[in-house]
């Protein structure tokens, strides 16, 4: 039998004053899955996460976590949830291990059991050797790992990760991906926001793309690409001859232009090959369509 969703939003709305930031959001996150919430800056991702933690009262609609209404049971819900916030907010007055110990107290947790858990978590995020280090001495990647360990101190069933790898080097990013995979395998439900489409494709079972507070589309990464983009792309960069560009109108291709780059999309590989051929002097880049193409198609290429 299917288990009920861990998170359910129903017609969820949030206004700041008269400005709507989240509009009619319907969302369901199934247990043991990783859901990726994608959207440009200011799309309403962080506001949605804040509502989910009971830190921002919804203007209308309902939001249930663990089948409990967030407005009525915020403490119970937070007791079963772990949060990795977007900005680092580790306690700079404490060491690595102290950060975990002090944080546990906010959950009314302590004692020898928590000490064991701290040891285990520090081992898991590979910070055993840093346990007596002060926070300002940690690198960005170490801080993120410690924040993840901190989010696990209450053994949460739901983990909320708000841009967990922003600003990290590739090594740190890969380690965090491995951690997230491990947590997912251990049965945790994960809600993730990110600006990295590769990250979303790797980690998420389901993805929702939001813009201007509205959910534009939802589905697993593969089917989103199939649904919203042609299968193949050719990218051409450089000075473009207007005549050649307009000649593309007669083909079956969809063309997007951004500054001096042309993106030519088509389902048929042969069509695209012949197009690429006609631009061969400009070293066209051929690749399969990815989530980023879907994202840009749905939310536009304009800067925010």
């Amino acid at each position: 039998m299917d288990r009920p969703p861990v998170v359910t939003c129903n017609q969820l709305c949030k206004n700041y004053g008269s400005t709507p930031v989240v509009r009619d959001l319907d969302l369901a996150i199934l247990p043991g899955t990783c859901y990726g919430l994608l959207g440009p800056n200011g799309a309403g991702k962080t506001t949605t996460l804040r509502m989910l933690l009971g830190l921002s009262p919804p203007t209308s609609g309902t939001l249930k976590v663990f089948d409990r209404d967030i407005t009525a049971h915020p403490r119970e819900i937070r007791a079963r949830t772990g949060v990795v916030p977007q900005a680092d907010n580790l306690d700079p007055d404490f060491t690595v291990a102290e950060n975990l110990r002090v944080y546990a107290q906010y959950f009314r947790l302590g004692g020898p059991e928590i000490e064991q858990r701290i040891d285990r978590l520090l081992k898991m995020v590979e910070l055993e050797n840093q346990r007596h280090m002060r926070i300002p001495k940690l690198s960005g990647g170490m801080k993120r790992r410690l924040t993840i360990a901190r989010a696990l101190i209450n053994e949460p069933e739901l983990l909320v990760l708000d841009e967990p790898t922003t600003g990290l080097d590739p090594q740190a990013r890969h380690m965090i991906w491995a951690l997230v995979h491990r947590l997912k395998r251990s049965g945790k439900t994960i809600l993730l926001t990110t600006h990295y489409m590769e990250e979303a494709e790797r980690l998420c079972d389901n993805i929702g793309i939001i813009d201007n507070g509205r959910l534009l589309t939802e589905g697993d990464p593969r089917s989103l690409i199939l649904e919203h983009s042609e299968a193949h792309v050719v990218e051409i960069r450089g000075d473009l001859d207007p005549g050649v560009v307009s000649s593309l109108d007669t083909t079956d291709c969809r063309v997007e232009r951004m500054e001096d780059t042309l993106y030519i999309y088509a389902d048929d590989a042969d069509t695209l090959s012949s197009v690429a051929e006609s631009f061969h002097a400009m070293e066209p880049l051929r690749r399969p369509a990815n989530l980023e193409d879907v994202f840009l198609r749905l939310t536009g290429r304009d800067l925010r």
Partner: protein
């Protein structure tokens, strides 16, 4: 849309209080110097220096008069500083509360925890002055020990408006206004340096609304070993002031953090 419902703090408030105790313990040795050093200069300089010319104030040796008032002001001052500069640091640049609010600990708990902590720190600094005053021979009665809980209460009273200022502050500069326009005049007017009866009558009635006046009215007799007049009036005034202050502080911090 400020949430004005009554505060319902829980045991988690103690976790917030304890966090600050842990940090304080790390810094205690360094801060002890300022904790004892500054009042020492004040009492020695003003108490002995001015006392030489003044002799007695309201039939009390001036050093004892000043020291007993200074004890009360010290709790006020320390709680005010902690409630503004330190709480703001935790709330805005460090985002400590943002992290705490992701746990079952709520705004109501954070505010009570911080008020208790500011009161504790006020008690520490008031006690430090009492110790200095005792060494200088300015404490005239063992009843001074009963001043300690009143110092805690005084710290709590002043922490509340400090937290309200913090909740509406956009930056540290804002605190200078409150300090210069409220705390400093109160320091001068509330009977720390001379009895409030020396003020013009209009000023006397204004000053009687200031909590520091009531704190001094209780603490001074305890330090110099005289009976307290109207103890319950002064005590109740401080309690009500602290309770109302906490209520407003909780509402203001909710408005700032739960958006």
């Amino acid at each position: 849309m400020t949430d004005w419902s009554l505060p319902t703090p829980r045991r988690e408030a103690l976790a917030v209080w304890y966090r600050n105790i842990l940090v304080w313990k790390k810094m205690a040795i360094g801060s002890a110097l300022t904790q004892f050093g500054e009042p020492f200069i004040y009492l020695l300089g003003l108490g002995y220096g001015l006392g030489m010319f003044i002799g007695e104030m309201a039939e009390i040796p001036y050093l004892a008069f000043l020291a007993s008032g200074f004890v009360a002001f010290s709790a006020t001052n320390t709680a005010t500083f902690e409630g503004m500069w330190s709480v703001y640091t935790r709330m805005v640049p460090q985002q400590t509360y943002e992290a705490i609010l992701a746990t079952p600990t709520r705004v109501d708990d954070i505010v009570l925890g911080e008020l208790l902590w500011c009161a504790t720190k006020g008690l520490f600094s008031g006690t430090a002055i009492l110790v200095v005053a005792t060494i200088l021979g300015a404490v005239e009665s063992w009843t001074a020990i009963f001043a300690l809980p009143i110092l805690f209460l005084t710290g709590f009273c002043f922490a509340a408006p400090a937290l309200i200022m913090t909740a509406v502050a956009r930056g540290y500069e804002f605190f200078t206004y409150y300090y210069t326009l409220v705390i400093t005049p109160m320091f001068i007017l509330s009977g720390v340096f001379y009895p409030t009866t020396a003020l013009p009558e209009v000023m006397q009635s204004v000053v009687s609304f200031l909590p520091l006046t009531h704190a001094v009215s209780i603490i001074r007799p305890l330090v110099i070993g005289q009976p307290i007049s109207d103890f319950w009036f002064h005590f109740s005034y401080l309690c009500v002031f602290g309770a109302v202050g906490m209520y407003i502080a909780v509402a203001m911090v909710r408005r700032r953090l739960i958006i």
